[in-house]
């Protein structure tokens, strides 16, 4: 049970505090309700590039990192489809330094043209390092625009193309900030050695004076249902064939969410999952296989990825995979298999909440979903999923018409 206090500042910023006096540190997580789904389709990668610009100084702070390091702090950030998240840990006695730094860059970042140019180069190198210079690194760039025709989830967070990042101007970046970085879109969570009164006072003092920008309603194009299978074949200079399959599902908050989470655990929850047992252990057609749900706020995906063993035909491997899925649709899983995935989920959840940084992030995300208290009922909700529910969800979602497949063929050259 993770206890917390929660309050909202007059400017609309939400604050959650989990007090844990057993640590000398405080973790601060500042989540902005904006991600790559908010980007202009011709300027993809903007949300992530902006995350970089937030480290280039602000109105009253010439350099973000230096004062934090001098106070013994450590920080980082990430961007995904839905959110941009800034997090740090700092000795409890210096937590006010974190309030000063985070509130100042929410007030007004102060990057120059020169800093923008440098960060564009840095992000372009990141693009190359993580997506172009890795075997299979472009797989999501290929499959997302095929699965999504209109929704902004059709491009990856890093951006659809390097040219988008390269073309961002000062005006674009400032407009993105004005539109999306507002206290109303921010959730601040603190976990560790700070009591709620102190957190409330510091939040009011530093974030209170930050004015709420005009709230722009989010109006994203909704993806129409898919009822016909979509395929793409590519050939690349990689050592083994690979198979990627995705199916559309609902939002993270939907009633089916935990059923789908459990469904992918049944299929691919490690070495005891059905896919591994059948396709790797028994048939030896795949060298690795994985399945997961994307946990997106807007309607997301089930993603399955597998690397094919040398000498196995890609289409035959796919048929074997489809058989495992069909078996789950036709036959309800036995109770001990259900209990296995439930127990493993419980254990994973408790283990992930042993760390103050994870607790602060999980509290922020649950607040964004509507209630930080959801953090304490996750296990219960997962446990409520039954075998018949899992099979019904397999029939409903893992339908061939709802599926997009990427056949990633090796050219066989070295």
């Amino acid at each position: 049970m993770i206890s917390f206090s929660r309050f909202t500042l007059p400017n609309g910023m939400r604050v959650i505090v989990h007090y844990d006096s057993s640590t000398p540190l405080v973790a601060m997580n500042l989540l902005y309700d904006t991600g790559s789904k908010d980007e202009d389709p011709s300027k993809t990668g903007m949300a992530h590039l902006f995350e970089h610009l937030m480290f280039c100084g602000s109105a009253n702070v010439p350099e973000y990192d230096l004062p934090l390091q001098l106070a013994g702090g450590e920080n980082n950030a990430f961007t995904n489809n839905d959110i941009t998240d800034y997090y740090l840990t700092i000795p409890a006695g210096n937590i006010e330094t974190a309030f000063w730094l985070e509130s100042d860059r929410m007030l007004q970042p102060a990057f120059s043209q020169e800093k923008l140019d440098v960060q564009k180069s840095v992000v372009i190198e990141e693009f190359k390092q993580r997506y172009l210079n890795q075997p299979y690194g472009d797989s999501m760039h290929l499959i997302r625009p095929l699965a999504y025709k209109v929704h902004p989830y059709r491009w990856p967070t890093i951006g659809m193309d390097i040219s988008h990042v390269a073309s961002v101007t000062m005006a674009d970046a400032l407009e993105f900030f004005r539109t999306f970085y507002s206290p109303r879109r921010a959730v601040l969570a603190l976990a560790g050695n700070i009591n709620p009164d102190k957190a409330y006072n510091l939040a009011g003092k530093w974030f209170g004076p930050v004015n709420g920008n005009i709230q722009f309603p989010r109006d994203l194009p909704q993806e129409p249902g898919q009822n016909k299978a979509r395929d793409l074949y590519v050939e690349r200079n990689v050592p083994a064939d690979a198979l990627y399959k995705v199916w559309h599902i609902g939002r993270r908050g939907d009633s089916d969410y935990y059923t789908l989470d459990l469904l992918t655990d049944l299929l691919a929850g490690g070495d005891s999952g059905r896919l591994y047992n059948r396709l790797v252990r028994e048939l030896r057609m795949f060298s690795e296989i994985n399945a997961y749900i994307t946990a997106d706020i807007e309607p997301g995906l089930i993603i399955m990825t597998g690397k094919i063993m040398k000498g196995t035909d890609l289409k035959k491997a796919e048929s074997a995979l489809n058989e495992v899925i069909d078996n789950l649709k036709d036959k309800e899983p036995a109770e001990d298999e259900m209990e296995k995935v439930r127990n493993k989920f419980e254990s994973a959840t408790v283990l992930s909440n042993t760390n103050i940084m994870n607790k602060a992030l999980n509290l922020s995300v649950n607040e964004l979903l509507g209630d930080p208290g959801l953090i304490n009922t996750e296990v219960e909700r997962f446990r409520a999923v039954t075998g018949p529910m899992a099979s019904a969800a397999a029939r409903k979602y893992l339908d061939s018409g709802n599926c997009t497949t990427l056949y990633y063929k090796s050219t066989g050259r070295k």
Binding site: P24, D65, E74, N94, S103, S287, V341
Partner: protein
């Protein structure tokens, strides 16, 4: 209402709070047990540590294969039953084989401690190494190996280790495709019986410890012994490549991966804490000289990092970065000029102060929570050291002088001693 001035809050001094030394218990067979009872959640972790790393192997892949095969079938569980049982009890297993050490780490809810200890006993001391499972393991691994060879970072790192430790020592030896065909059940069984000796293992238990964990360990392991005790192999000799600049071509690559570094002292050496400080200042944190120069000023790379690491028989320092091909030579030039700058002039007091504060914060983070304490303990235990190492580290962080950093740079970081590996 007055005007609110956004001035920087006062920064307080803080101290590294290094916990008391974990206590050593001995099982009746002589195995050592350390307990770290801490944390707020009902979870535990147990590390079983053996000197069964690559340094002990006479064929490439033997240490890693033996380790990975431990959970592929035991006297009482076949591979499939074992993975389902672990999952049923929500026990997370991590098998690992490093250069010196190999073993097993389990994470579990405290209430399942007994089951976790029983299963660890199966995995560690009753594996049967079935031939069909070994065959599958090698098929999977050769596939993974081919994929990992497609990454310039891995190509660069393997060639770096070969250059600084030699192609014949297990620290430096490169794996080839042919090696995957050489593993047999008998080789793996022999390696297991020589190096996974119950009386020579070290167990580290951390987390919220409920009940009598030492009693459980005694029940499951106290009576186990093995007939084999390993003796050092005098044939394993470290050597260095004569060539200091090595290029590995990779077709279609859009970036070059660099590994620039050399063999150096390890944790047992008195200069080591000072060298760690120097390394942090050079490339060990976001505000380091290399990050500022190559990333924040020039935009050559997404990241550049310098690290100093220890092995039992040696240590190494390495600077790693991935750079767009058009800037590759300029980036390498900057790395070497930063090394020269360290030798030529002492850092300013301001720069020293940032590193001091940052590293002090790191020490706090290294001891925050039971599993962090366990990690920090493990990384000295493997070298026969104890928390005294961290006290010396904290003392160095507070008191090391700019001139001392310059001395260390001249002793350990000469640009002319560096190996430069470039892949892609």
């Amino acid at each position: 209402m007055g005007i609110f001035l956004r001035v920087q809050p006062q920064v307080e001094a803080f101290n590294a709070s290094i916990p008391a030394e974990p206590q050593l218990y001995e099982l009746s067979n002589g195995a050592g047990i350390y307990l770290i009872d801490a944390g707020t959640e009902e979870v535990m972790r147990t590390d079983f540590i053996f000197r069964a790393g690559m340094v002990r192997e006479y064929l490439p892949l033997l240490a890693t294969t033996t380790n990975m095969m431990l959970a592929e079938g035991t006297l009482n569980y076949n591979a499939r039953e074992l993975s389902s049982t672990l999952d049923y009890y929500g026990i997370f297993m991590n098998l690992y084989a490093e250069k010196d050490i190999a073993g097993l780490t389990l994470y579990f809810l405290s209430k399942h401690a007994r089951k976790a200890m029983e299963l660890a006993g199966e995995i560690l001391f009753r594996p049967v190494f079935p031939g069909n499972e070994l065959d599958l393991m090698m098929k999977k691994r050769i596939n993974w190996f081919r994929i990992s060879r497609g990454k310039t970072q891995n190509l660069a790192m393997d060639n770096f280790f070969e250059a600084i430790f030699g192609s014949r020592h297990p620290y430096g030896r490169k794996v080839t495709e042919a090696d995957f065909g050489k593993m047999t059940s008998q080789l793996v069984k022999d390696f297991h019986s020589m190096h996974y000796s119950p009386e020579e293992m070290t167990v580290l238990v951390s987390g919220k410890i409920n009940g009598n964990i030492t009693g459980l360990l005694e029940d499951f392991y106290g009576g186990l012994s093995s007939g084999y005790i390993y003796r050092e192999d005098p044939e394993n000799i470290l050597s260095e490549s004569r060539e200091r600049k090595i290029k590995i071509a990779k077709r279609g690559s859009v970036q070059s991966s660099f590994r620039i570094g050399k063999r150096t002292i390890n944790k047992r050496h008195p200069d080591y804490p000072g060298l760690k400080f120097l390394n942090t200042l050079l490339g060990g944190y976001f505000g380091s000289r290399l990050m500022k120069n190559l990333r924040e000023e020039k935009g050559y790379t997404y990241g550049v990092h310098s690290s100093v690491s220890s092995f039992d028989l040696s240590g190494f320092m390495v600077i790693s970065t991935d750079v767009g091909r058009q800037n590759a030579e300029k980036a390498a030039g900057e790395i070497f000029s930063e090394l020269k700058r360290l030798q030529a002039s002492p850092p300013t007091d301001e720069e020293m102060e940032v590193v001091r504060k940052y590293m002090m914060g790191e020490i706090l983070r290294m001891f925050d929570g039971p599993f962090s304490i366990a990690d920090s303990f493990r990384s000295v235990l493997d070298f026969g050291l104890n928390f005294d190492y961290y006290h010396r580290m904290a003392e160095t962080i507070k008191s090391v002088t700019p001139d001392e950093i310059m001395r260390l740079a001249n002793a350990y970081c000469k640009p002319e001693d560096m190996y430069e590996i470039k892949a892609g």
